[in-house]
Symmetry: C2
Subunit: 150 residues, 2 copies
DNA sequence: CAATTAGATTAGAATAATTATTAAGAGGTA
DNA sequence: TACCTCTTAATAATTATTCTAATCTAATTG
C-alpha cells in the first residue's frame, strides 16, 4: 500500500479502499462494481466519490479507462501497455500480455500525431462457449469480428 | 441504393433514409448525429427508430457498432475489416485500411474462441494539434497511450 | 486551542444515452 | 375483408454518468 504514496494526491480512506480493491484486480471492473465492492466497507460511499476518484487516478496515470464494453466504462489498474480479449457475449475482458509491434505507416496517419495503440481481440469465453453466463446479447461488433448473434 | 435489397429486411423509407445517410459515410456518426441528419427529411423520426434500425442493421451485418468513444456508441457502415485512428481530444475517428496480421498465440487465448480483432490507434488529429476543435477533454485512456491531458 | 483553508466526500438531483413498451399504421395474403 | 406480421412513433423507463451544493476533514496558522 506504500506504493501509492508517490502518486501525488491525498490518500484518504475512501481512495485507499478503491485503490486497494483495484490493486492487482484483473477483472476490469465498472464504476458500479467498484462502488458495490467498496461501499461494503464504506456504507456512505457515493457514486460521485467513485467517479471522482477514478477521474483523479486517471489523471495521475494510476488507472486507465477502457472502452470496449459498449455498456459502461471499465477501469484497469494495470497501466503497463497491454491488450485485451473481450467476450462478445458476457463482456468479460481478459488481459493479453503478448507484445506486438504495430506501427502505422506515415502515409496512413492522416496527419495525426500517434501516441499509442491498443488491440481488442474478440471472442467467446469458455463459460459462454458451453452455453454459460451470457449476461447480455449485444456485445460490441467491430470490423473483423464475425457476428454470432443471429 | 439497390444494394440494400438483399440484406433481407423490409426497406422502409426511414430505413432507407438511415442507410442513405450512412452510405459511404466515414465519419462514424453517433445515434444522435444520425437522428439529427435524418429527422430533417423525416420530422417524425424518433430516437427509438434510429436505435431500433441500427440494432436491426447490426444484426444483419450492415453496420458495425464501435466502442472507442467512451461517451456514446458510434456506427460504421464499412463492415469490411479495418482499424481505427482515434483523436483523444475531439474523438474524431478515422479509418485505417492497413492490413495487419495479428494472431493471438493459443497459449494466450485463455480458452476463448477468437472471432476477430480490432486495432485502435490513438493520436491527436491535425485540427487539435493546432489548438483547434477540442470538443472535450477526456478521451479514452488505454494502455500504451500517453496521457496528454495533465 | 480556535480559525482558516483547500481539498474531499456525500446525497441527491440532473443529464445523457439507451432500451422497452405499447398502440397505431402499412402491406401482404387467404 | 379479416387476419397476420413487421415497422413506426410516442412515451415511459432504465441505466450510466455528471453536476451541485452542503458538509466534512486534515493540515496549517494565529
Amino acid at each position: 500500500m506504500e506504493k501509492y504514496k508517490n502518486i501525488g494526491l491525498k490518500l484518504t480512506p475512501q481512495r485507499l479502499a478503491i485503490l486497494d480493491f483495484l490493486e492487482g484486480n484483473t477483472s476490469h471492473p465498472s464504476a458500479e462494481e467498484i462502488f458495490t465492492a467498496v461501499s461494503g466497507r464504506f456504507p456512505t460511499m457515493s457514486f460521485a466519490t467513485v467517479y471522482n476518484t477514478l477521474e483523479t487516478l486517471k489523471g495521475k496515470g494510476a488507472v486507465v479507462e477502457l472502452t470496449g464494453d459498449p455498456q459502461k466504462k471499465r477501469f484497469d489498474p494495470n497501466t503497463a501497455p497491454h491488450h485485451h480479449l473481450i467476450c462478445t457475449r458476457c463482456r468479460r475482458i481478459a488481459d493479453v500480455q503478448v507484445d506486438y509491434k504495430i506501427d502505422l505507416p506515415r502515409s496512413s496517419r492522416m496527419g495525426f500525431e500517434i501516441t499509442g495503440n491498443h488491440i481488442e481481440f474478440f471472442g467467446v469465453c469458455p463459460a459462454c462457449r458451453k452455453g454459460g453466463p451470457e449476461k447480455t446479447g449485444s456485445g460490441a461488433q467491430t470490423p473483423g469480428e464475425e457476428n454470432h448473434e443471429d
